[in-house]
């Protein structure tokens, strides 16, 4: 129990510390506003031209709220791969071994500490615009709950990947390319702007299996247009990938520590 207290304390301290630098949080929020603004135009025009109310079972409002959710995830997830990369290079990771906490869990706590502040801010900004543009989302308590769960899983999944990337600094001079590739894959195959439902069949089929969809598509889709099949499938994808990537990350971490133990970092 004391262990949980330990990491909760880290989480709170991170949140408090982030509050001291509000400007860093306003920038993503501003970007959210801009992107939403542009896409409201796009979807309005699109629906006008097709003349219909539904496209692949989604209304214009759905698509707008979908974007609010995906952008919330992407803008609220703290960028830790670079931080870990720096800590590896500077030897701070080695130093952290002299402290009585687990390095990965410590960073997970910090990650959530920061995300806990950014999530409500970004969502509020996005939601305000979406409300103004197309009214409230077609959300039920069930879909909201599912969305939240998926959101938590999505962010944790993202953490696992970014941590593994950051730890790769032990073996690679520059981990930024890995991060970029991952990020771009989330943007494209994860359905950042366009839900997988609007993808061409084949691509959609592939993307549904990949972890990237678990980061953005899953929480957004469940929130916007809930269905039991979607829930089952998406949660399963998320959990499986989380376990897989979590294991990968754990293995990378163990090997990294071994590297420190043998080479001093």
């Amino acid at each position: 129990m004391r262990k949980l207290v330990k990491y909760t304390a880290v989480l709170t301290a991170t949140a408090l510390s982030s509050l001291m630098y509000p400007r860093d949080m306003l920038v993503p929020a501003a970007f959210m506003a801009l992107v939403l603004f542009v896409f409201v135009q796009l979807w309005t025009v699109t629906y006008e031209q097709t003349g219909g109310v539904l496209i692949a079972g989604l209304t214009r409002g759905d698509l707008i709220w979908y974007l609010v959710l995906t952008e919330t995830v992407v803008l609220s997830a703290p960028r830790i791969s670079q931080k870990i990369d720096e800590e590896v290079k500077s030897g701070e990771l080695a130093l952290a071994l002299v402290r009585p906490y687990n390095y990965v869990l410590y960073h997970l706590a910090r990650y959530w500490g920061e995300a806990a502040l950014r999530l409500p801010l970004n969502f509020t900004v996005g939601a305000t615009i979406a409300l103004a543009a197309s009214g409230p989302p077609a959300v039920t308590p069930l879909s909201a709950a599912a969305g939240l769960v998926a959101l938590a899983l999505a962010l944790t999944l993202n953490f696992a990947v970014e941590t593994a990337i950051g730890l790769a600094a032990f073996w690679f001079e520059d981990t930024m390319p890995f991060f970029w590739i991952y990020q771009k894959l989330v943007f494209s195959l994860g359905g950042l702007f366009l839900p997988l439902d609007l993808f061409p069949q084949v691509l959609a089929a592939i993307a549904r299996f990949l972890p990237f969809a678990g980061v953005t598509y899953a929480p957004a889709r469940l929130f916007v247009s809930f269905s039991w099949e979607a829930l089952a499938w998406l949660l399963m994808v998320q959990v499986i990938w989380l376990l897989a990537l979590g294991c990968l990350m754990a293995r990378v971490y163990t090997r990294a520590v071994r590297k420190v133990n043998i080479h001093g970092g």
Binding site: M20, L97, V260, N261
Partner: protein, 387 residues
């Protein structure tokens, strides 16, 4: 008395990949890498008793940080053993970390944007301290290190000296038995440095915390540590008291005289020629500085002769600055001038001596009167007799 730190035959060999320059080179090294071995630590032995304050010094690349990493469990040795508080560091690190503390002068454990008190609260939870005990401990440390005034000020607004004191408080909350300090006074002004040293001495006296200090600052070493371990090229080349260090490596004393007549006019400057073992370092206007090899010539004789032959306004007798001594060691003058009392050449590694485990007061007094930084001589006639 069970030793707090024991190191036996610690060896560490690194295999570093060679990185050839250029794009082609990088590609080649990816396919067929070449390695070179670096023996960073070549067999280190020492024992540290509880309550000792030991300086661990050596030039960069000598194997200092490698040794410390092995002692704190971060690094596995290639061969040899060590025990800290009875535990093998790299095997029982998770346990050991609750009983030691490491403070690095340049890396802070405190959260930059939050006041120190928040960091302390966090540390209390990280180290799983009992609430009541933590509060008592914190109060005692706040008073000892005198940080009450800025306990609630964000760390980024504190001066370096204030930050360091908070850093130390944070490190001591969990009552570590061993404190590893790396460059604790780096970047601090003279006053702040003295304060930190005073706090650390007090700590050691009242709580018996063993301190393992790495520093390039001669003042830190001189004022805090009775025992010095010098490491160079991966081995211990000296392990003895501060006194022995000075005596062995540069067995000289410096006498600075302020005369009431021009140095050129007095017979003082001929002393160098008259007395063996005396060398004139500086002769300008009213200042005359002599260097005396204590093995060849007695200080009393020199001073007596000077006082008899010239009008002296002020006399100061001091040890050569520690920097010079350390520089001499680094430069490999381990075979210095002079042998030890038995005429044995100084190059042999001295066996670890079991120090008295407390701060001898004569040493402390000497430390107080000296401003060792820059080797500036002390004021007026507070000449300290050679110990």
């Amino acid at each position: 008395m069970t030793p707090v730190v024991e190191a036996q035959g610690l060896r560490k060999v690194f295999r570093a990949k060679e990185k050839p320059p250029g794009l082609l080179g990088s590609l080649r090294s990816l396919v067929r890498p070449t390695y070179r071995t670096v023996e960073a630590v070549r067999g280190i032995d020492f024992t540290i008793a509880p309550g000792e304050m030991v300086a661990f010094i050596g030039p960069n690349g000598a194997g200092k940080s490698t040794t410390i990493k092995m002692l704190t469990g971060i690094l596995y040795p290639t061969s040899g053993t060590a025990r800290v508080l009875g535990l093998v560091p790299w095997e029982r690190r998770q346990e050991l970390v609750y009983r030691i503390a490491a403070v690095f002068g340049q890396r802070s454990q405190l959260w930059y944007h939050l006041p120190p008190i928040d960091s302390f609260e966090l540390l209390a939870r990280i180290y799983e301290l009992d609430r009541a005990d933590y509060r008592r401990r914190l109060a005692a440390l706040i008073e000892r290190f005198d940080i009450a005034a800025f306990l609630h000020t964000p760390v980024r607004k504190l001066s370096l000296g204030e930050r360091m004191r908070c850093e130390l408080v944070g490190a001591l909350l969990h009552r570590p038995a061993v404190l590893f300090l790396d460059e604790p006074t780096i970047g601090l002004d003279v006053v702040a440095r003295q304060r930190i040293r005073a706090h650390l001495r007090e700590l050691n006296e009242t709580e018996g915390t063993t301190v393992f200090l790495t520093s390039h600052d001669a003042g830190d070493i001189e004022q805090l540590c009775r025992r010095v371990i010098v490491i160079s090229h991966g081995t211990v080349i000296f392990d003895d008291s501060m006194e022995a260090l000075k005596r062995r490596f540069i067995p000289t004393k410096v006498i600075e005289l302020k005369l009431e007549e021009s140095a050129d006019k007095t017979p003082a400057h001929t002393i160098g020629a008259e007395l063996p073992g005396v060398r004139v370092i500086r002769r300008e206007d009213y200042v005359l500085t002599l260097e005396v090899e204590t093995a060849r010539q007695s200080i009393e004789v020199v001073v007596g002769r000077i006082l008899a032959t010239c009008r002296v306004a002020d006399v100061t007798i001091s040890d050569p600055p520690l920097e010079e001594i350390i520089a001499a060691i680094y430069a490999g003058r381990g075979t210095a001038r002079g042998n030890d009392a038995n005429g044995v050449p100084a190059a042999t590694v001295e066996p670890a001596r079991e120090a008295a485990g407390s701060l001898g007061t004569p040493k402390a007094k000497e430390a107080e009167t000296k401003e060792a930084d820059g080797g500036a001589p002390c004021e007026s006639l507070s000449s300290t007799p050679p110990s």
